[in-house]
Each structure stands twice: as C-alpha cells, then as structure tokens.
C-alpha cells in the first residue's frame, strides 16, 4: 500500500473481517454510512457536473442556439467547422502555451518556497504560509479587476515603479499590448495559485522521515545534498499529482482572462475557455451552444489524453525504478 492511501471500507466496515468471501451486498451494507455521507455530494455532482457534462456531449452534435426548441442534429458538422476555424486553433494553442509556461514556473517556485517554509527553525514560516495562501482564497474576478488597476499604464503602481527606476521611458500597456497581455495574466495566475501548490508540496514534505535527515547530517551532508538525495526522491511520487492538478488549474483561467483582458486585444489572450464562452454566450449574433460544446468536447478530450499520457508515463517511470532497484 502506498503512503497516505486511505481505504475507508476497510477502516470503517472491516471490523477485522477479511474482505475476501463477503458478497458485494454485504460489503455495501457494511459501508452504508460511507455511502450515506457521500450521497449529498453525489446528488449535487450529478446535477451540476455529470449531467451538464454529458448533455454538452450531446449538444456538440446539434446546431442549436441554446434557447430555442429548434435543435437540429448536424452530426460532425460542428467539428468540421472547428477544424477550419483559425480562432479556435489560435485559442487552443494559446491554452497549451499558457500551460507549458506557467505550470513549470509555479510548480518549481512552490517547491522551493515549501522547502524553505518546511524548515522548523524558520519561525516566520506560518506567517508566510498564510500570506502566500491568501490569494488562493480570493475570488479570481476580484483579483482580475484589481490587477487591471495594478497594471494600468496610467498611474498603475507597476508602471510607476518601472518609470521611477528608469527601467522604461514610457508606460507599458501590459494588458493592451498583444505581446504582453497573455503573459501578464499568466503572471497573475501564478501568483494567485502558487499558494495551493505550496500547500501540496508542504503536505508531501511531511512524509519525509526526519531521522533520515538527521542520519545524513551526521554523515556530513550539506543542505543541498539533503534535498537532492533525500527530499526530492522521497517527494517524487507526489510531483506527478501536483503537476497534474496544476495543469488542470492552468486550463481553468476564465475568470482572470475575462476580467483582465476579455481575451483581447484582438484575441491575443483568448484561451479556450474564453473562446467557448464567446461562442456560447458572449459574441454579437445568435449564441451557438452546439458549436461551443463541440469546441469544449474537443478540448476536453485533448486534456484527458494528456492526463492519461501523464499517468502512463508515471507508471512506466515507477516500473523502471522498481526494476532498477531489484537489479
């Protein structure tokens, strides 16, 4: 059993009895309290997650505005149109660019900070943990709006600092320049969500036995060696999960992008979620819920593919490690 895995049915219902030999019905009955407690969440998830998700798969094959009773089954027509829509491909590419740039920065930065804050001798650790976590619990829309002022070329504090330090000679329109808009949002996104990755890493660091560090110190290991030879190998299995969670998060940036740039200027920061929203609700003209659903489905399948690929890669790496240890 891997570290940290919880098996509620065994813990709560097992009462020392072996699982083997009991019927499914018996096991379900024994674990009835678990299912009862899960029920409210399951019902809500069914209503607000599973049902809309499944329906959007169906909508993807319709020519439908979303508000009329006139739904026409068009088969793969929406997907055919998507493939020739350059704005779709631009948004698709932008989403992955965002992920490729922002995720490594956030994950590595969070690990470094977690390593520092995990040091029990650092008395201000809890204070900084709170400070770094604060943006996580703040609404993305509120942060987005505030950041438009922070990055404003007119009296925005960032530009003031740049001007005062002579780093630039005229204000930079971070959110109005196609070259900087998306990356400014990415920076804000990293800042906002960095705290959650840090907490994940801190949780992972708890599994490293302190006696290993003590033994290594007795052997004369320095701080770098401690992390390289003990910490990183021990938290390695958690990295895949943290990266996966961060990747999924990097594809959910609608609130920030919409409030900071609206996808502009001229689509320069339009990521997939904004593209889907624009087609489903936002643009001038009749909404195209069917078309937007097709885009969402296509994108969702890609993300699923990436997750599976990552899982497969992790399994291969673990197998290889196990094989190496055995040999």
């Amino acid at each position: 059993m891997s570290i940290g895995t919880i098996q509620p049915t065994t813990v709560l219902a097992g009462k020392g009895q072996p699982e083997r030999g009991r019927t499914l019905r018996q096991r379900l009955w024994a674990a009835r309290w678990c299912y009862l407690f899960m029920l409210p969440n399951l019902v809500l998830a069914a209503m607000f997650t599973f049902y809309p998700t499944v329906m959007s798969w169906y909508f993807a094959f319709l020519d439908w505005s979303g508000f009329t009773s006139d739904r026409e089954w068009v088969g793969l027509e929406n997907f055919r149109e998507l493939l020739s829509d350059r704005f779709f491909w631009d948004a698709y590419q932008r989403s992955f660019m965002f992920m490729l740039i922002a995720v490594p920065i956030q994950v590595v930065l969070a690990l470094v900070v977690a390593l520092i804050l995990n040091d029990s001798s650092y008395k201000l650790g809890p204070f900084f943990r709170t400070i770094f976590f604060l943006p996580v619990v703040t609404s993305a829309a509120i942060i987005g709006i505030v950041m438009t002022f922070v990055f404003s070329p007119f009296n925005g504090p960032v530009n003031k600092m740049l001007l005062n330090t002579d780093m630039v000679d005229r204000p930079v329109d971070f959110l109005g320049d196609p070259d900087t808009a998306l990356w400014t949002v990415a920076g804000v996104w990293i800042w906002k969500w960095f705290g959650i990755s840090m907490i994940y890493w801190l949780a992972a660091l708890q599994v490293v036995p302190q006696d290993l560090y003590e033994a290594a110190r007795l052997d004369g290991a320095n701080r770098w060696s401690l992390h390289k030879d003990i910490t990183l190998p021990m938290v390695y299995p958690f990295a895949a999960v943290i990266v996966l969670i961060t990747i999924v998060g990097s594809l959910n940036v609608f609130g920030l992008v919409q409030t900071m740039t609206g996808g502009g200027p001229f689509f320069a920061s339009e990521v997939m979620e904004v593209y889907i929203y624009r087609n489903a609700f936002g643009d001038s003209g009749i909404p195209r819920l069917g078309y937007a659903s097709a885009a969402a489905l296509f994108f969702g399948i890609t993300v699923l593919g990436i997750s599976l690929l990552q899982g497969w890669g992790l399994k291969k790496a673990n197998d290889a490690r196990t094989q190496m240890k055995q040999t």
């Binding site: 404003s152 329109d173 009749i286």
Partner: protein, 514 residues
C-alpha cells in the same frame, strides 16, 4: 444623394434647432437628474383586478436612465398596493442575456423582463416566452391609440396581430456625442459651445490637450476592450462623412439604396485613419485597449482625458457621483469636407419590456403598463429623467416640455438628435418574415470593432485588405442567413435589404414602404 451643406450653415442650423432652453444652459453647471421629486407619481385605479395576497413581483432590465423613473414608479406603486413588493433587478446587458433565457427555460423568469440582446423578438414570441399585451392592459385599444402613428410595427412590437411590447421612449439618440472636460478644452483654446470640431480639429485638440497634460491626462479615451465602441466610432463618423448606411436584423452598415455593405467605403477607411492618427500622436489615453466602455466613461470625470465619445446615459451618473466635474456635450466631430449627412436610426423604441408568458401576475404587469403608457406616465418618465428619456406620446411630450424642468444637458442632446438623426428603413417593417434572418445570423469574427482594435494594437497592418475581407464575409453571411431563413420557410430575399427610395437626409416614412 448626399447634401452639400456649408460648414458654417451646418453649425448655424444646429444652433438654430437647439432650443432656447439649450442655449440658455451653456453654463454647464451640473444639475441633478437624480433629484427627481419622489412621491410625485400617483398611481390611478385602472380597474384591473389585482391580487389580494402578499406577492413579490420581479422585474429585470438594464437600469441606466430608465431606472431613474422606475425607482420612483415602483416606490409609488408599492405605496398604492402595499401587498405588492417589487424586486427590481437593474443589471448589465451581459447578465440579462444570460439570466432571462435561463429563467424562461426553468419556468421562473422575471414577471417583466428586457429582451436579451441576442434573441430576436419574433423568436421569443414564437417560442411562447412572452404574453400579448392586448389581453392584459385594460382598455387596450384606447391605450394604444395614444401613441403616434407608426409607433407599433409588425415584426417589432406586433406579431400575428397581437401587440407584445410597446415603445416606452424614443430610440432616437446616438452614442458618439462628444463629451468634454470643459477646463481642459478651454485651456487648449477651444470653445465647443460656439464651434463644432471637424475631424482635423478634433485630432489637433486631442494633441494639444495631451501636450498640456504632460502625462497627467490625455486627449481622448476609449473603452477599447468593448470593441463595439470602436465600431460605433467608425460607422457614425463614416456615415456622417458621406457613406450613408443603416442596420437591421443585426446586420449593420448597409447602404439601403443599394443593399451593399459600406465597410470598404473611403469614409469608413478615413474614420479608421483618424483613430490611427490619434494613436500616432500619442493622444489616446494609455490603456484604452484594456478598458471596457463603462470603465472608460466612469473614469472620465477623474480628469484622465479631454474628450470621450459617448451616449446620454453617462450624464446622470457623472452628475450624481462627480457633482463638481465641469463637462460639456457637443456633436460628434463633423467631417472636414462639406458633405455632412444625418445618421439613420431604427425607431424600434427604446427600453421595451416584455411580460413573461407564464407569470402568475400578468394582470399586475398590465396595470403597470397601463400607467407607463398613459399621458401621466409618459410625463412622469420625462420628469424623473429630466428629459434624458423622451416621451413618445405627443401630448405627454408637450406637457412635459411646458411643465417639467428638463436637464440642460438633456435639452442639448435632444436638439442634437433632432438635427443629426433621421428615421431609416427597417427590414421587418416591410417584410415581417425577414425576422427569421436575424435568428440565423452568425457573428462575423472578426467584426468591425474587433478589426479596429487589432489595427490599433498593431496586429493588423493592411487595413484595406482587412476591410475587403470583412465586406466579403458580411456579404457571404447575409446570403447564408437568408438562405437558411428560406429553408425554414420564410419568404425573404436580398431584395428585402434594398430600399432604393431611401434619402439619408429625410425621414423614411410609412408611405415610403409601399
């Protein structure tokens, strides 16, 4: 045919048509539209049988100017009927566009709602979203007769002989009036009360203001993230400069005389050049591309720029929240040459509201609309908004002009509308079946506003090619939407989008449709 008007004559005509009230109001002392006297509305007994139980009546629209009236009206109505509590949601259009369809689909829509912008009225009627007013407003025929001839149009208000909505106020207004910071303009040597800025003067004034601002303020500001603001700038300036056009069923910029789009006209191109020139001069407030429209105009009173082109809705908020701000209102920049055309508008009425078909309180809605469409109600609208909203019932407009103290800015705006706007043709008035085209319309991406944003952001270099492409896509989309409407059984053709007898300088009257 374009009329040639000498610039001086144009200015004189403008001044002449501006009422004495307007001329006398040039001091631009902020007045308070929000000070409309509460308690001045008396709700009459219309004879409608109203619920005796305690009920909550829900109402959603976009607020703005009309909220000045509705806040007052709702308070009076609740006072007259203490068992009726009114829940008024005055929300941005983006939220209305989402809340109303979801409400209808879940059977829980507001009792009275503004129609979402993307939903053609004909479709909402066909889908059974809304209730006809004929059955719920008492003495409906008499009530309807108060409105001037042509106020109720097939395909706009009337469907299959039933009336579903009514024009509460006139839609005769435009969105590119020049609002200016009086202090900055005076300092730059301009007096917009006595002269109108030509395009060249507008650019020069913006440059001078920027120069005098020394980085503290700029010539002009745009809410450029709301790309429709750029589109409105280009089309209104281009149209007035000699590329007449109108819009109907969601298709904009059509020269009704030929049915062709105007995107590639020299005048539209010149209007874009003007924007590019302003940017090259450094006269546009930095960050204009990342501000939305509301952010731009709500920051304007803080002194960020000298001029902004906007609609009348900005005035009450500025007066309320920035009572010391000295500002003026003038025509949009007029063309450099002598060809000056009025702008065409669609009189679909503004601020239409609809009654939810499944509302249990349709009789309450009927009672309320009975008052809003009455002479007293129409006068109250003008009184509460100090004239920012204009009554459609002629008798009410006359009474209001004599007895109600209009805001000086409102008087100026009304005078500008009379001078610079003409009623244009409307496709569904001649052929109600053509409304199906609106339902089939797909957005042009990028559209005119998005293209202009791309040009200013430096992402589009060949402006001419981009406009050619837009023209071609607009033609293709109109043809496609018409074909799709035909497939749905609508008898409509491209000929419905041609009004060969349209004269942009004249009103397009009911007889001209025949």
């Amino acid at each position: 045919m374009p009329v040639n008007i000498n610039r001086r004559r144009f200015a004189q005509a403008g001044l002449a048509s501006t009422s004495a009230i307007a001329l006398g109001s040039r001091s631009h002392r902020p007045s308070a539209a929000q000070d409309a006297t509460p308690g001045s509305i008396t709700i009459p007994d219309s004879g409608v049988e109203l619920p005796a139980d305690d009920i909550t009546f829900r109402w959603i629209d976009s607020g703005d100017l009309k909220a000045l009236f509705y806040n007052e009206f709702h308070a009076a109505y609740q006072e007259a009927h203490p068992n009726i509590s009114i829940e008024y949601d005055a929300l941005p259009w983006a939220e209305i566009n989402q809340i109303v369809p979801i409400g209808v689909q879940s059977g829980d829509a507001h009792d009275i709602f503004a129609m979402p912008q993307d939903i053609p009225s004909a479709q909402a009627v066909a889908e059974g979203w809304v209730a006809p007013l004929d059955d719920i407003i008492p003495n409906f025929a008499e009530w309807k007769d108060r409105f001037p001839l042509g106020s109720f149009m097939d395909g706009v208000h009337v469907f299959d002989g039933k009336t579903y909505t009514f024009p509460q106020t006139s839609s005769k207004r435009y969105w590119t009036m020049t609002f200016y910071n009086t202090d900055y303009l005076e300092q730059a040597g301009y007096d917009l009360e006595s002269e109108r800025l030509t395009w060249d003067q507008y650019r020069e004034a913006a440059r001078k203001i920027t120069e005098q601002g020394q980085g503290q303020y700029y010539g002009v500001v745009f809410g450029g993230q709301s790309t429709d603001r750029f589109a409105t700038f280009v089309r209104n300036l281009g149209r007035m400069a000699g590329a007449p056009a109108g819009g109907s069923l969601g298709f904009e910029d059509i020269d009704w005389r030929t049915g062709e789009f105007q995107y590639t006209s020299d005048e539209y191109l010149a209007a874009i050049d003007l924007l590019v020139g302003l940017q090259a001069d450094g006269s546009i407030f930095p960050g204009s591309l990342s501000l939305n429209d509301a952010e731009a105009w709500s920051q304007f009173p803080q002194g960020i720029a000298g001029m902004i082109l906007e609609g009348p809705w900005v005035i009450p908020q500025w007066q309320r929240e920035n009572p010391d701000f000295r500002f003026g209102l003038a025509s949009q920049p007029v063309p450099n040459g002598e060809t000056v055309l009025p702008l065409a508008y669609e009189e679909t009425g503004s601020n239409q509201l609809w009654v939810y078909a499944d509302s249990p309180y349709k009789n309450v809605a009927g009672d309320m609309f009975s008052y809003v469409g009455s002479v007293e109600g129409q006068v109250a609208i003008m009184a509460a908004t100090k004239g920012f909203l204009r009554a459609l019932v002629p008798e009410a407009a006359e009474i209001a002009q004599e007895s109600v103290e209009l805001d000086p800015y409102a008087s100026e705006a009304l005078a500008l509308y009379d001078e610079q706007l003409r009623l244009g043709p409307m496709v569904p008035v001649r052929n109600p079946a053509a409304s199906q085209v609106a339902l089939e319309r797909r957005p042009l991406t990028p559209d005119l506003g998005q293209l202009v944003q791309g040009i200013l952001a430096g992402q589009i270099e060949d402006v001419g090619a981009a406009l050619e492409d837009l023209q071609s896509r607009a033609n293709a989309e109109l043809d496609r939407a018409i074909a799709a409407a035909q497939e749905s059984g609508a008898e409509v053709s491209r000929d419905d989008f041609v009004f060969a007898n349209w004269d942009p300088t004249q009103e397009y009257t009911a007889e001209m449709y025949e």
